[in-house]
Amino acid sequence: MKYLFVFVILFSVSCKSEKKGTVELEVLDFNGFTHYLEFNDSKTYVVNFWATWCAPCVKELPHFEMLQSKYKDSVEVILVSLDFPHQYDTKLVPFIQKHDLKSKIVVLDDPDMNSWIPKVDPQWDGAIPVTLIYNTSKRLFYSRTFSYQELEAELKTFLL
């Protein structure tokens, strides 16, 4: 018997959380999500857009996980899943459990993609994976995949 707890957050109809086992998905539309692109504090944010159906994304995920564990204090990795809602339970949650992902995970569910893709970055054409790295003094968008070495080298240019 599985228990599904749905927390309805009264302040926002567009924001919902589902708890299943030990994995609680934070599912947001773009309005609910934008603050993840706008933190204004001493940390450097590494925002990676991915999905379990995207093979090159899955391949580079461990590099983001490793980065998060190595730079715990100065960096926050945010893994933004673009998985399909009907696959949250069948694909996404099992994937998170299987790989024991430690980084912050948010799920972006907003089908009007042309309205929000350019707001993440004007250069983004919609292919994934893409990664945004930003802090208060620098912001760069990467339409590419990373090895761990490449990712860490890129991050270091933000930590100078």
Partner: protein
């Protein structure tokens, strides 16, 4: 040190070359014709369609969930617009070594299951999608036939809701083709959407 410098120069050159190549077409550019193998074994070119007023060229595949979500809508576009002079031409751009689910046999099977009435071509040497600048599936190019050749009039998504055709508010491709058919200007020539990157 010299080796490292040479390597760096080489890498930079390669990066620039890739960027230049991946830019592809913009609105108003003349699209290249092609000669690609269809699922029935014949080759298909735009120039085969003598009376076409234009084309709805869709880079798509079997294996991308977004492409699958749009299969029925791509078929519906062909049903609606082929007879009006804007046939759908679907091109599968993935490397089948990387994505065996997009092999010619798999394409034939899928087309049969779904009853595709449009040509479903394979970009076997992956030479056509970079010229268009397609980066993902599905990725649509609406072309208008002119004396100069097929002119790119729209690039992007089919509509604004991949999840549910019933909830679509704006049908980007239909709006573009309708406007081209009636010879009027239209507003949205480019849209963006999440898709699966084309597999090299």
């Amino acid at each position: 040190m010299k080796t490292i410098l040479t390597l760096l120069v080489l890498l930079t050159t390669v990066t620039f070359a890739q960027n230049a190549e991946s830019k592809g077409y913009d609105i108003g550019d003349i699209a290249t014709d092609f000669k690609l193998t269809n699922i029935d074994g014949n080759t298909v070119s735009l120039s085969n369609f003598k009376d076409a007023k234009g084309f709805i060229v869709v880079f798509t595949c079997n294996t991308c969930p977004y492409a699958v979500a749009y299969e029925d809508r791509i078929e519906a576009l062909n049903k609606k617009y082929a007879k009006k002079g804007f046939p759908v031409i679907a091109i599968m751009p993935n490397n089948v070594q990387t994505k065996p689910g997009d092999s010619m046999e798999a394409m034939q099977k899928r087309a049969k299951e779904k009853g595709f009435t449009f040509p479903y071509l394979m970009d076997s040497d992956q030479s056509i999608f970079p010229k268009y600048g397609a980066t993902k599936t599905p990725h649509v190019y609406v072309l208008e036939s002119t004396d100069r050749g097929p002119v790119v009039e729209y690039i992007g998504a089919i509509d604004d809701n991949y999840k549910d055709a019933a909830l679509v508010k704006t049908k980007y491709v239909e709006n573009a083709v309708d406007a081209l058919l009636s010879g009027v200007d239209f507003e949205v020539h480019k849209t963006k959407a999440i898709g699966c990157s084309i597999k090299l």
